[in-house]
Symmetry: C2
Subunit: 389 residues, 2 copies
């Protein structure tokens, strides 16, 4: 286990009707002039945005709003949002939505108090922001885990890069987690979210760090819960109990507890980011395609760790003397899980051909180091895309 420092102060407000507390929560964290950020029309249609505004009004909080965040959220929106926040002396940014909205909020919070260019310094160069406006969020899909994480992923449409930034300064002050708000998420989006959560668990699991048994067990426990409940939620999105499990799983998967003292891999995220950058596909769908291919390409690097994962999460007990059998069978069952929840597992299923593979592979390594468990070159990444065809 590596030495580590950890803290996560996000206040989780979980349960029915918790969105009614929004105004009071913002006051608790000294917000008085709020920018509300959201995506498309769903939070308007559902009435959630109105409920939130009423809560802010009741608490005597001034607010402005900016809607229109798209999946694979764009730097241009961040830039506009930060200008708006500066101009109107905003002191708190509230996201109402999923990971794209919350990642956008975090980027706005950094840019609103920074004289340089946040995209260049914190996303491209990987420097760590020291300050940011405080933010909070009301989550509307279980997926990204951004609601209590220190991370944000943004796409710069002109430079054509999709990259993450990290800073403790952007950990949200609060996250309102009401499973009822997930009842109207389309089934395909629920599945994409589940795939993203599972990916966050697997990225953390595949590490070269030895003696990380507690976090191994905790990740396995969370992955088993995800695999059990995601299909139940997709069958019946109005099942409060199943949605509650999925929602809490998404938060725990990414709040930092599960990778204490270990360095995760994150190659599959880097490889997927190019797919959503080039083809604007859903991140979760891309991950369901990339992860099995990545596993096939790297598993021999530490076959015992892969065997342990598939034994403990998928319950495969197959051969003590031929771990290869466990792993190859395990990857098949992982693919079967993705298929069962309606996720693609091959690029061909979403009509992506091999014509941009070399370009995407180059972009992946140009964006960021690809892989900590096994560091991958652009040639390696190309081969993984080809395995996924």
């Amino acid at each position: 286990m590596q030495n580590f420092e950890f803290s996560n102060s996000t206040k989780l407000c979980f349960g029915k009707n918790t969105q009614a507390q929004t105004g009071e929560l913002i006051k608790e964290f000294n917000g008085s002039r709020v920018l509300i950020v959201y995506g498309g029309g769903s939070v308007k249609k559902s009435g959630l945005l109105d409920q939130v505004k009423r809560s802010l009004e009741k608490a005597g909080i001034y607010y402005i709003e900016k809607g229109g965040v798209v999946p694979n959220p764009r730097w241009s929106f961040v830039s506009e949002g930060a200008k708006l926040a500066k101009k109107d002396n905003i002191d708190f940014v509230l996201g109402v939505g999923g990971g794209s909205v919350i990642d956008t909020v975090k980027a706005i919070c950094m840019q609103a108090v920074y004289d340089g260019n946040v995209w260049t310094d914190f996303y491209r160069k990987g420097e760590v922001a020291k300050n940011a406006l405080p933010c909070g969020n009301i989550l509307t899909i279980a997926a990204a885990g951004s609601e209590s994480s220190a991370n944000s992923v943004i796409t710069h449409e002109d430079e054509k890069f999709k990259i993450g930034a990290y800073s403790p300064a952007i950990i949200p002050k609060f996250a309102i987690l009401n499973p009822e708000l997930l009842f109207t998420v389309p089934k395909y989006q629920i599945a994409c979210g589940a795939s993203d959560i599972l990916a966050h668990l697997m990225e953390r699991y595949f590490t070269n760090e030895k003696n990380v048994d507690l976090t191994d067990r905790l990740i396995e426990a969370t992955a088993k819960t995800l695999i059990n409940f995601a299909p139940l939620v997709i069958q019946n999105p109005k099942d409060y109990n199943a949605q509650a499990e999925l929602m809490l799983t998404g938060t725990i998967a990414h709040n930092g507890i599960l990778d204490l003292g270990r360095i995760g891999d994150w190659a599959s995220h880097g490889i997927e980011h190019q797919l959503s950058l080039f083809y604007d596909i859903a991140h979760g769908a891309g991950l369901a395609i990339v992860f099995p291919a990545w596993m096939k390409y790297v598993y021999k690097h530490d076959i015992a760790r892969f065997a342990q994962f598939f034994q403990n999460v998928f319950g495969i007990n197959y051969s003590l003397t031929n771990l290869d059998l466990i792993v190859t069978e395990g990857i098949k069952r992982l693919e079967a899980f993705y298929t069962s929840i309606g996720m693609p597992t091959r690029l061909s299923q979403i009509d992506i051909k091999d014509d941009k593979i070399a370009e995407m592979a180059q972009k992946a390594v140009d964006s960021k180091r690809v892989g900590n468990f096994v560091q991958l070159s652009s040639k390696d990444v190309e081969k993984i895309y080809k395995l996924a065809l």
Copy 2:
């Protein structure tokens, strides 16, 4: 799953030589006049206290010290410590030790800023303190989980009560967790600590709340890790990797993550507190005696939950149609685990007879509600003590 609010902001500083950061950490949390609290001579003998003082001096921090906290820590010490803190304008209290020291620190932090009597209002009456001085700690035994919890248990020697208090205001600002500092803990104390950790997990597990699968899985994962590593640590206390697992397990078991959305039982803690109050035994040893007896007394209240625990933690697969068999076998294996690490499982093993059972049972129910999973009367508690004879 119940609605819940949760946050835990304790900064965990885990790993080798992290005690050297103490001074800088206190500065980070705006401490400038520090009261250092510790127990007996072991932190002096080991040189830890000197290392801590050097770190504070290097950071330019003024400090005074007060040693002498005893196991089952006393209100009289708290009272003196708080007077000292007020008199010398202390703005930060640092605990160097285990749960007794840290619980004492928390009580001092409340009393130092409170005009009323903390013992009467927050321990006896169960009110929740709104303010407290900030505190931090350097942990020297994996056990109580107090290093990042909002709880403190104190014994009032004149009133003869041992009771816990809870307040978010006493969550430590930081916890320095260096497994090397555990190398010199006597084996009996290591076992007492492991028993306390396991008890924290089981208290949380036995709940009437339905649909708490994620936290069920996480508790099981943590319990499996504890049961695996405690014997390894006792075999070789200088095994850094095993100590690291045990130490992190103790923190995670009690930091609040594992009981999100559920209400734990805590009867066994209440029942044990009378044993350590009346006989001044180690809390962990008392828990190893009380927990199996409590289980025998209440398991029929929710036999499926007990069977799930023993199946998933102890790997007992015995009978789908007679869960009773799983549970009775499970309790035997739990007792065997306690025995294997050198813990007693019967009062007779530590020379406690039945003469004070009625008095202790009455004290337990006078102190606090006993049991949320099954609420127990003094007669019930008496029967549990008798089962433990």
